[in-house]
């Protein structure tokens, strides 16, 4: 155990953890919203995120080409904004597709929650494999030559051709906080505030809360519950798309199975904060990101995941419903 490593660079480990935590939190929102409304865990949500990472990288290939260059954040900003929109749209669309194909037919027939869970796991594999096999699909329709930049090395690491170089924004306790770090944390917080406003203050938000509290009564009161479920999936997808773009901004590479680890982590964050609770997802994400970075410092990087899951167990032992433990439906109006 190396507590000295942690304390010597405390700010560095904390800041690095907050950046990753913000990404976890944005993905966790998708899990938590769907759980809040349907009481089921959308295990395919991790692939919604994965599709967003590819959307981001492809926008760069489309607008810039495949030449490897290094840009600052300012130079890349216009394409980044386009790719943010594209990633959110693609992830949102995949989330809607999931709802339509993997959930709605089951929910209509009143299938047990367990069946929906299995359907979600199946959808997760299907989506991840579809991305991994995209070279074959393109080959079947004779497009692989034309779309080579998008489909080659389907299962391998896919790197964004533009490498976005961070610059120091300000310095805290000897750690240089980069402009990219600031963008990620601020963007995540803004998204979160916007989402809380949407759920708490708008008509659609009221519908979501109503269905979360009591689906039958909500329907009787004239709430279109199918529509509400759709919007819930869409909003979760949009948030995952934003997370995907921020992730690519920071890391710059993706692969078809990238969703798995992020899905598990974001799900952990959602449960830790109190699943079904929007503020809990934010808190859980940030805590998870920071604590696993601290754990890497103290025990070594190979203990990172052990630390985060032990933390989850400890928190659930003390507070079985998570830190904030308050369901979506009971959120203050």
């Amino acid at each position: 155990m190396h507590f000295d490593v942690l304390f010597n660079d405390f700010t560095a480990y904390t800041a690095g953890g907050l950046v990753y935590g913000a990404i976890y939190a944005l993905i966790a929102l998708g899990y938590t919203m769907v759980y809040g409304v349907l009481q089921l865990i959308n295990f395919a949500h991790s692939e919604v995120f994965m599709f967003g990472t590819y959307a981001m990288a492809w926008v760069f290939v489309l607008l810039h080409g495949t030449e490897q260059v290094q840009w600052g954040l300012g130079r890349a900003a216009p394409i980044l904004l386009v790719s943010l929109v594209a990633a959110m749209l693609v992830s949102g669309a995949v989330a809607l597709l999931l709802e339509r194909v993997a959930y709605r037919p089951l929910l209509k027939k009143g299938a047990p929650k367990l069946i929906c869970l299995i359907s979600a796991i199946g959808a997760s594999f299907a989506l991840s494999e579809a991305m991994g096999l995209r070279d074959r699909f393109a080959g079947w329709v004779g497009l692989d030559g034309k779309l080579d930049n998008y489909v080659s090395n389907a299962r391998n690491l896919y790197a964004n051709p533009v490498d976005i170089k961070p610059h120091t924004f300000f310095t805290v306790g000897g750690y240089h906080v980069s402009d990219i770090d600031v963008v990620i944390i601020v963007a995540a917080l803004l998204m979160m505030v916007a989402l809380v406003f949407f759920v708490d203050k708008t008509k659609f938000g009221r519908g979501i809360r109503a269905v979360a509290q009591d689906p039958e009564s909500a329907t009787l009161m004239g709430v279109n519950s199918t529509r509400v479920i759709q919007v819930t999936f869409l909003v979760g997808g949009l948030m995952a798309g934003a997370a995907a773009m921020l992730y690519m901004l920071k890391i710059g590479t993706t692969r078809p199975n990238i969703g798995f680890l992020f899905g598990v982590k974001a799900f952990t964050a959602a449960v830790m904060g109190g699943i079904g609770n929007l503020r809990g997802a934010l808190l859980g994400g940030l805590i998870l990101g920071v604590v696993e970075n601290w754990g890497s410092a103290v025990f070594g990087s190979d203990w990172k995941d052990v630390v985060s899951f032990v933390l989850l167990i400890l928190i659930l032992l003390v507070r079985p419903s998570g830190i904030l433990g308050e369901a979506l439906g009971k959120a203050r109006a």
Partner: protein
């Protein structure tokens, strides 16, 4: 590709059938298993095939594709000379995973047409399957598995045409100390057999130069904890044991955090994909060692003509390994036992260098080369040999 899958499925069915048969107690029937070709041929010309097992897809898939291209070239050239007695290649895609390899190993040893195995590609899968191949008497020559321990298991059927990790890491440490002039080095690996072996051998060779070490996980993308430790240690060099995906991310995140020292890694990262993952700016100046030198000038064009792909790391080794098996077949050795002793006493000059094996299956003579990333590209033509 579909054909391969179908074959694999049929092989699996055949394997199950064979298992069921042997479970029924038909003993003393092993002789046919030991003879390649299944006796179906005429005049000693059976339907022989060479098996290849390695990562053809997955994160390290690029390396396995390099290898199978070498095997295919060797077999193509053999078949042109022996039009009446062609040899086929059967590929088994393990994705480089020790979890997937054992099932494939079972398929390979049950296939009586297979004369020998080029592979396994990586050390982890070699460790997981070495016993199976040894017990079945299946001769194997790996083009790329470099873990030291593999040749210390007493698997007399196991060979490799590449220098092991000990040799590579010792040369790397020497180069870093004497040529680069580094004083403090931070060592990281990804906890796999190959990577750990390389990192441990490097630590032993570098001795007091090592100022710290850490271990990451395969698939990890956030390296910030490692980066912070490297910066805090004041190291002027960084050595990574592992493959290109994580190596690229490490190089990128180290450089972005302002690390100015030398980035060095081994043959698992010696691939153009490393530069892609790191970004050309962060990869610039990285030193990547490999127990493999550049191929002779005409070799690349032969590979291109035969397979349509460019030669890469391990293509020469795989070509040489396949050629040893083909030479054995040419010399009329058809049983696994005869082929194995043929390999043991083989000496020759391959495209990768002089080849002869010691009694453990290690190659007797190997040179370690350093490749550099220059002007945003991995320079695969002009490596430096470490003397």
């Amino acid at each position: 590709m579909m054909g391969t899958k179908k074959t694999a499925r049929m092989l699996a069915v055949a394997g199950i059938a064979a298992l069921a048969l042997s479970a029924c107690g038909s003993s003393g029937n092993n002789a046919s298993d030991n003879t390649a070709g299944g006796g179906g041929g005429k005049g000693g010309c059976g339907n022989y095939s060479l098996a290849f097992m390695g990562a053809l897809t997955g994160d390290a898939g690029a390396l396995g594709v390099n290898m199978i291209n070498g095997v295919k070239l060797a077999v193509d050239e053999y078949n042109q000379k022996h039009a009446d007695c062609k040899v086929t290649v059967k590929d088994f895609d393990s994705q480089g995973s020790p979890d997937k390899a054992p099932a494939l190993a079972t398929q390979i040893v049950q296939d009586s047409s297979i004369a020998g195995l080029v592979g396994p590609g990586f050390s982890g899968e070699s460790n997981a399957t070495g016993k199976t191949f040894f017990e079945a008497g299946m001769p194997s020559i790996s083009p790329s598995a470099t873990d030291d321990g593999l040749t210390k298991q007493g698997w007399t059927t196991w060979h490799r045409v590449i220098g092991n990790n000990g040799a590579q890491a010792t040369a790397a440490a020497k180069y870093l100390k004497e040529t680069v002039g580094a004083k403090k080095v931070f060592v990281v690996d990804d906890a796999q057999d190959y990577s750990k072996g390389l990192a441990e051998a490097f630590k032993t060779a570098a001795g007091s130069m090592v100022v710290g070490s850490d271990q990451i996980q395969v698939g990890q993308t956030d390296m910030s904890a490692v980066v912070t430790q490297v910066k805090a240690s004041g190291a002027d060099a960084f050595y990574y044991g592992g493959y290109y995906a994580e190596a690229g991310l490490l190089a990128k995140q180290l450089r972005n955090a302002g690390f100015k020292g030398t980035f060095m890694s081994g043959d698992g990262a010696e691939d153009p994909a490393f530069v892609k993952a790191a970004g050309s700016a962060a990869a610039e100046g990285a030193l990547l060692t490999a127990p493999a030198g550049p191929a002779p000038a005409d070799f690349n064009s032969r590979v291109k003509a035969s397979t349509g792909a460019a030669a890469g790391l391990y293509t020469t080794q795989a070509y040489d390994a396949a050629n040893i098996f083909l030479a054995a077949l040419d010399a009329g050795k058809t049983s696994h036992q005869d082929i194995n002793s043929f390999i043991g006493s083989y000496t020759g000059d391959g495209v990768s260098g002089p080849i002869a094996f010691d009694q453990n299956g290690d190659i007797k003579q190997s040179t370690i080369w350093v490749y550099t990333v220059k002007n945003g590209q991995l320079d695969q033509e002009n490596p430096t040999a470490i003397k």
